[in-house]
Symmetry: C2
Subunit: 340 residues, 2 copies
């Protein structure tokens, strides 16, 4: 049948896939489109929705929110313990986690494991079992990072004494926060909580963070957009490829660290830790992006999505105009629970 | 006239440009080709040349030379004073320069200026005038870097006490050498020889080189091909863009330097010097390329070009099969001479 066509066909097929098969048999190329009418086919509700999306109030609000996002100038300004960076964490057994709110019993195993690890790290319990009892008894508060301008990779666990990158949007003074990258292998962010994981976290709190704080304070505010822009040109996407950004950060940080007056053996361990982890910049890019997205938040009537986050069970978004409300639009296949 | 063509024309025009103009007027696209018959139109000589180029001996020799080039594994193995790296320089007033051989009187101003600077740096003369008299009197030997497996950017000046990168082709044990990058601004490689230029060279000899030697010896042989390959993927061309390669080198060198036992204040200055010069890797890539090209040299009958170099006046090449012979195929418009 292909001779019927005077030239090769490229077809978009919206609807039943069997229509696509016919075109393919006849020698055409088909791009199937998984489409369904909006609002499950409720025409009146669909027209209402369309009206809302193109409403002048919404359009103006979105332009304003997007402009605030573009105007954001995230700069690395400090390194602080979480309880200082986020005063609400001081003196409380509060642990922050990735994604939208979720109760302990609903959490996936890796997030639960990371929370147990953070409790052991904080000294709130002496053993895995004791920590488990405490958290089951409700003695530990669990809240999303996003409720405190914070982010963290994977499980995203932040406990009060963990050191945080402090990023400030120099356009509005708002600060955002992220924990620090532990490297690859067994790490808290994937739910590991063995002694080697906790030992590394202790070292990061005791040696890495004070050195970075000293270095960052010597550097002064370090604008992150130009650094990330250069890294993007160098092949990073600043998520899973951070080799260039980490190198550019090191070029700035190392001379500052060396003039910090800290002991040479500490600087050796700190520089080796950073130089051996191409992902070291990741958490800083997350905090920078958080600062930029938070700049767009809370513009009345704006439908701009300012948060997309998951906790291993639920995926949620927040819109600028609806403030702190979470919309949980997906429930994923659940990861295995913590073995008990 | 364009309606005469059933489709748009794309024409290659070899010969008089006026033919091209006609096609352009008629709506066609022309790529002019600046072509002339080989050997100035001597048909017999042209055929001889063609025979030679496709001679089985030449073809086999070229394959062998090219394979040696591909097999080369340049590794940074040491940092040494030129007089140790190149024993022929010890105890002689010998200065190496860029490009093919050239007498003092024929040299361009920047190369002459850099030679005067190197003589002052070596302490062979107390003043610019005294240095000029010495070199005019023939008291200083001037030879190409390429005669000693060495390279250097721009004027390419190497004098006996300058520190050199030592790169070894681990496939054949042959070493190649380059001086070190001074950064931007007033620098010897562009012919500057003012006190600030000489002061920097003294610092590089006294502080930078010993630190790099210590760091390189701690690191052990550092293979340069993988590092350069990664830098190429990160947007460097490892000539005028070396930001990625310099960063990758720093990631390796800094931890080694910090464990060298050298004084912290020296390490501060050394790390700051490297971190502030995105071109720092350049000279190392030059030495690595020299090692790879030298691997292909001296294969009898090979017509592979193993050296292309200029000294500001002449441009010369060397072929593998013709060994040390220079073919000077271009005389450039001359740069201004040194003011006297």
């Amino acid at each position: 049948m292909s001779q019927l066509f005077s030239q090769s066909l490229k077809v978009v097929n919206a609807g039943l896939n069997s229509f696509a098969a016919n075109v393919q048999q006849a020698g055409g190329t088909v791009q199937p489109l998984n489409w369904q009418p909006p609002v499950q086919g409720d025409v009146a509700a669909g027209l209402d929705l369309a009206q809302l999306l193109r409403h002048p109030l919404v359009e103006r609000a979105n332009q304003q929110a997007f402009q605030r996002y573009l105007d954001a100038q995230p700069a690395l300004v400090d390194v602080l313990p979480a309880s200082e960076a986020i005063p609400a964490m001081a003196g409380r057994k509060l642990i922050l986690h990735a994604g939208p709110p979720i109760a302990w019993g609903e959490m996936c195993g890796p997030v639960q494991g990371a929370i147990i690890g953070a409790m052991l790290f904080e000294g709130w319990a002496e053993s895995h079992e004791a920590a488990l009892r405490l958290v089951r008894d409700g003695a530990v508060e669990l809240q999303p990072c996003h409720h405190y301008h914070a982010v963290g990779p994977m499980a995203g666990i932040i406990s009060p004494s963990m050191p945080l990158w402090v990023v400030e949007n120099q356009a509005n003074g708002q600060r955002s926060f992220s924990n620090m990258n532990e490297g690859l292998g067994k790490v808290l962010r994937f739910g590991a909580n063995s002694p080697e994981v906790l030992q590394r976290l202790h070292w990061m709190r005791q040696e890495l963070a004070p050195a970075l704080r000293a270095g960052v304070r010597i550097l002064g505010p370090l604008e992150l957009k130009p650094l990330m822009a250069q890294a993007l040109h160098m092949g990073d996407e600043v998520h899973n490829r951070n080799a260039a950004a980490t190198g550019l950060l090191l070029k700035r940080l190392v001379p500052a660290l060396l003039s910090s007056g800290l002991p040479l053996d500490q600087l050796q361990r700190v520089c080796a830790f950073m130089a051996n982890n191409d992902h070291f910049f990741l958490n800083l890019s997350m905090a920078a992006c958080k600062a930029m997205m938070d700049a767009a938040a809370n513009v009345p009537f704006s439908s701009m999505v300012t948060v997309m986050a998951r906790n291993g069970v639920n995926f949620g978004i927040r819109l600028s105009g609806t403030g702190d409300t979470w919309f949980q639009i997906w429930v994923t296949a659940r990861l295995p629970k913590l073995r008990e």
